[in-house]
Each structure stands twice: as C-alpha cells, then as structure tokens.
Subunit: 401 residues, 2 copies
C-alpha cells in the first residue's frame, strides 16, 4: 500500500473519507493521539488501539535527541521500534525547536539550537528534518517550517524582516521562509525517493512515506492565501494548516481555518495541526478538516481533567468524593464502565499513577468516539444535527453536576 | 459462597488447592499483587486480571487514612469502590503503622500514631483494626499484631519487656502481646458475626469475611512454636506467618518457614506475609506455603528491574540500548509479546510512565505464571523437578546477557 485518500461522503464542507498508508488505513475525519517520545503518555498502545486510534503522532525533535533516529532506523524504523504497526505521522521537529530548545538561531539555512536535555548544540534544516523522518519511517512526514506567534493583519510584502519579532512583518517573513524551506524539503524527499544510493545512505525505512506541506501566515487571510497557493504549487501528497491554536481567540482560529481549508485540494486530506478542544474538532470538521492531533486529552488527563459530552470534569473537586457515577454515564470506555468518580478522585488525590492512566483512557476514548460519531453523521447527512446537539450539551466551563 | 479451602494434590510438603471466598475462588499456591491504596501501582485492574491474578491485597492503613473506611463502606465496600469484584485480602494496618507512621506509642490497648499524610493523631487497636476491615469488606481480614525486627534466639520466658527493643526479650514480648491482641480481634470478629446490631453499627459490608491469625516469634523456633500453638488455639479460619522478610538471611527465613508451616492445620491455607523473590516463592511452596504477597514485582518494575527466569534484568543498562529481544524471550506477557528491551530502556530513560506500566505488566505476569507452573507441577507430581530446574536457571545477580 502507498499513500492515498478517498472522500466517500460530504455533508456541507464536512468530509468523510479513507486515508491509505503503507501501514494501513485511517478513517477520516480522524484524531491522532500524540505519542511524543514513542509512547502515548500514561497508557499502553493496547489501550490506545482499544480506544479506537488508527494513527498516532510521533515527535521528531524528541526522538531525534533520544534515542536517536539512527538507532531507530537500525531497529527497522519507528513502527517496529515502538511496537505500533499501524499508521504514524511525524512532525518536523520544528515546533519543539521553537518552544523547548534553550537557545535557537534561525538563518535561511535552518535553525541551530541547544538540546533541552543536555545543552548539546544541534542543527535542523529542511533537508535534515526530511532525512530524520525518512529514518524514522513514519507514514506521513511534515516539512520543517518557521514558527512564530500570531500577529495582526499583514502590513504588506517584504516589510521588516526581523525588526518586529512576532509582528505582522515577521509573520510574512516566516511564511515566505517556510515556503522556501518547503521547496527544499520537497526536493530532498524526491531525491530520497528516486536515488537508491541516497536512500541507502540516509537509511530510509519506509519507502512509501508521504510528505505534507504546511500552510502558514498567522491570522492574516491574505498571507494564508499566498502560503496556500505557493505551498500547493510545490506539490505535496497533502497539506496541513499550521501556526494556529497558539493563543489566538477561538473564533479567529475558526475564521482562518474556514478561509484556508477551501484553498487546499479537495482530493487531499487537510490536517489542522495541534488542535484542540472537542468543540474545535466539530467546528473545524464543519470547515473541511480531515486530520487532527492534540496533547489536550492526554495532558489534561494527567492534570485530573476529564473531558465529557458536558465539558470538563475536574476530578479533584470535593463534590466527587462520594459520587458513585462513572465520569460520563453515557460513555462506553473501560474507565466509565468500571470505575466511579469517587474512586478516580481517590486515586488522583493519592497520587497513584493509575489515575492518570484511567483518565487518559477515558479522554482518548471520548475524542476518538466523537470522531467516529462525526464520521457516522457525515455518512447519514446529519452532521449539522450532530453539530447543533453537541453545542447544546458541551460547555468549556467546568461541569457543575 | 463463604470461606473454604480444599487441598486437591500434594507433592512432598507442597500443596495444590482451591480457596473459596465470597467473591470467588483462588487456586493455590497463589501470589497476591499488592494494591496498596486501592490500585496495583502502575497498572489497571484489567491488566492485573490479564496477568492471571485471582486475588489482590489492600492496605488497611492507607485506605483507613484516605479515603477512609467509612466512606468505602458507604460506597458498598472495597470491592465495589475499587471496581475489583474478585477476592481481596486486607492486612491489619499494623505493618504500616510500625514502618510509616511518624510517631507511635504501643500499649497493651493498642498503638497510637501520627498519620504520615498530615500528622493527625490516630489509634489502632485489635478491635478497631477488625472493625475497619469489616467496613472495607475484604474477603480475608488479618489480625493486628505487634511488629519488631528479628533478633537472635529467645533468652527464655518473660524476660526484659521493653528494656531490650528488638532483642530476644522484645521478640517474646511482642509475640505474647500479639497472641493477646489476636484473641481480642477474634472476640470482636465473632461479635460482628453474631450480633446484627453491632454489625449494622460498624457497617459490615461483607458478612462472609474470614479472619486469619498471624504467627510471630522472630527467628526463634521455640517462640514460633509457642505462637503457633497459642494462635491456632484461638481458632481462626486460617493462619499466616508474619515477621519474616525483614532483613534476616534468606536461609534463616526458609528455616523458620520450614519449622512453622507444619505446625499449622493441614486443612487451612498458610500465608507467608510480605515474601518475596521468585526463588523464595518456590522454596516456601516446598515448605507448605499456599499464599504469598509482595510489593517486589511492582516496586522493582517502577525502578526499572525486570524479573525473568534468569533473574534480574536492569533495563537502564547500556547493553540493552539496541537489544531487539523482548525482556524474556520465553514469556507470554503483553510486554514481551510486543516490545523490545531497547524500546523499554528508551521509555525508562526518558521517564515515560508507560515504562513503569509495561515493566509491571511483565513482572506480575512472571510471578503469576510461575505460580501457575508450580500448581501444575504439583498436580503432575513433578514439583521437585520444577524446583531443581528453576534454581539452575535463576540467579539473584543482575543478568549478563
């Protein structure tokens, strides 16, 4: 099997489809649990699979630093190394370089940084990010892009590179550099695919790996359009929308997604990176997104927050001390089928790591089950009804029952 | 179902049997994973059950302090509260009072101590330990005993109470007090069983609960004999050997077990508390023990130590960095069926909690599978052969392959 994508049904802008990869298929719209360092935090892959995941995300930055992509290549690639034989997407490592690394220096060549683990000097270029992911052998690789915070509308082309960090000029500059980097990453990928000597030298572990371009441009519609046109012009297997869910208001994010998604090819999956809350998934499916990833369900679980149809349930709340109900009485996950809020609260208050595991099992199931319901609704032409009913029930405010 | 025990086969002093409890049966010899605070550390009960556990142990001290035995009784008892519908044994809480509590004062009435959680002043008496466990509703309750370190041979009756803490006189004194406390605990238990008003007042959640007496006496054979005779004379559903695996040489422990077990009724299960390494289980089954518990498989897992047929495998060892073998190639657990030593080492070095989970899954499976093999060997009259082959393979020194 190599990379492919088929849209089987649409309902408004929402699409139901099937993504094909060398390691199996993924029904879309899909949510990808984040397996940062080769494990989805808090649970085993058996539980990840039981929760309904068909694809997971691995973090190139973390795996590159430890245990190292060359070691993973020698083990036969990431799938074999981590024991997950199903589809995997890897990010480019860029996001962590820009958010975790101690020191970083961005030039046209790439980015230099110091490892957050031991301070070692490292470098990442569009070509190297491509090579690292080729060694990892994920089914979907992402191009390296330059990340900065969001800013206001664009002041026009070619203004103020570097003189206004995070400002509108910087957003344009980073977008334009990301397009140039994307072109270099694609060139490198095509070289790996067509030159067996180079592929052997790099130790490509998954010849069927696809590569996605990333649309940048902050919250400025014009920049997003420019980025989409330029990136689609390079020609990738598919495209992601990056640089969102970084602090901008949620309505702004929805607007950018609504503006950008229709500019991406209809016959390719659209991936919204790093989003989000459950209502974000519903709203962005409504705008034509097919793939999501986010640490939210796993991270919030470890912090004692359960996500349910009604919203956020903070398990340490004293009101749950003797509450014999499951976290979400309507949920079919192992945690909700077996345990009470009172027991989960007890485990959390006692600091038992099993609390993190059981909350993660629920949160992931909730996300993946929501995606399954969304796919079903699109299939029945009732996605609008699901969307309406979802918002009637779900609130971002902590639950009061 | 109420409490019962049937020996179906013997092989030398080793016995194969079935323990019956109000929450199901347990094949013996059996190992009981320790679920200190209502969870077996690092894994879910689904994994505990998958590993082959038929009974778990709960710690009365921890559950009494948090979330509280009265809260658990209101939730319907420990089985319902923690979501484990199978047999449970609870200790008396004494061990933790003597090992964890900040301050303690032992009198004939009982023991006063300060909670290790918040310094609150607490008290535990033979009667109160019985009542707490009646509220928890475990299938097997243990009597409160006085614990001290082991010491040399007994200097004779009634010497030096309190003037030689931990010495032989203190061992006798603690043994004699434990017998008096056991009598009080049994009196209280019979009152709970026969007086419905008292049972209702205490909130007994499992009327079929059995109560085990505990044999003390350190490493002195005479004291052990005295303790066994006096404790059996009181009359419990069964008996445990306490006060071992507290630092004495392993051969001494085997000798005490070999001396004491035959003095306990043949028609009752014999429980060796807090033991031990895998070879200890084999050796003590050979001396007539039916029940074991120990934190070793779960605690060592969290510390990165795998227990295998060959001995201890320290996963962080650099030799495993690229080792694609499973922890134990002959093991059928989820971890060994799915993951390599290299991957487990990576997760452990990265501090991923999933490392603790996967190592715990293996260690518990190894212990429970060993018990299953022991039971089978006893059934086939080949326990001696199993014992011999086990020692030829197993070493306590860290593995070098």
């Amino acid at each position: 099997m190599s990379f492919g994508f088929t849209v089987s049904q649409t309902d408004g802008l929402a699409r139901r489809g099937v993504l094909t990869t060398p390691h199996g298929t993924v029904q879309t719209p899909a949510f990808m649990p984040v397996g940062t360092r080769g494990a989805v935090k808090g649970i085993t892959f058996r539980d990840v699979r039981d929760a309904g995941a068909e694809i997971v995300l691995g973090n190139t930055y973390h795996l590159h630093l430890r245990p190292g992509d060359r070691l993973i290549a020698r083990a036969g690639g990431l799938h074999r190394f981590i024991g997950w034989p199903h589809p995997i997407l890897t990010d480019s490592g860029g996001y962590q370089v820009f958010s975790l690394a101690a020191m970083r220096k961005v030039t046209e060549a790439g980015v230099e940084f110091r490892s957050h683990l031991d301070g070692a000097l490292c470098a990442l270029s569009p070509e190297e990010a491509t090579d690292i992911q080729a060694r990892l052998g994920s089914d979907i690789a992402m191009v390296l892009d330059e990340l900065i915070g969001t800013a206001g509308p664009d002041p026009g082309p070619s203004v103020a590179q570097g003189s206004d960090p995070g400002g509108a000029g910087a957003v344009r500059a980073a977008m334009e550099r990301s397009v140039r980097w994307a072109r270099r990453a694609r060139t490198r990928m095509l070289q790996l695919r067509t030159d067996p000597a180079v592929a052997a030298d790099v130790q490509v572990t998954n010849p069927g790996q696809a590569q996605f371009g990333i649309i940048q441009g902050g919250i400025d519609p014009g920049l997003r359009t420019e980025s989409a046109q330029a990136t689609v012009g390079i020609g990738f297997e598919a495209y992601a929308i990056g640089g969102l869910s970084v602090g901008e208001p949620v309505d702004v994010m929805y607007d950018v997604v609504g503006h950008t998604a229709p500019q991406l090819p209809v016959d390719r999956p659209r991936y919204l990176m790093g989003t989000g809350m459950p209502d974000d998934l519903v709203e962005c499916v409504a705008r034509g997104i097919d793939l999501f990833d986010c640490v939210l369900p796993t991270r919030n679980a470890r912090n004692g927050q359960l996500l349910t149809r009604h919203g956020v349930l903070v398990i340490k709340n004293a009101r749950y001390a003797e509450d014999r109900q499951p976290p979400d009485p309507g949920c079919g996950c192992y945690t909700c089928r077996t345990f009470s809020r009172a027991y989960l609260r007890h485990l959390f208050m006692a600091g038992e790591m099993t609390a993190a595991t059981l909350l993660t099992v629920h949160n992931l199931y909730f996300y993946l089950d929501l995606m399954a319901k969304i796919r079903e609704a699109i299939g029945f032409g009732s996605f609008g009804k699901l969307r309406q009913e979802f918002h009637q029930t779900f609130s971002r405010r902590p639950q009061q029952h």
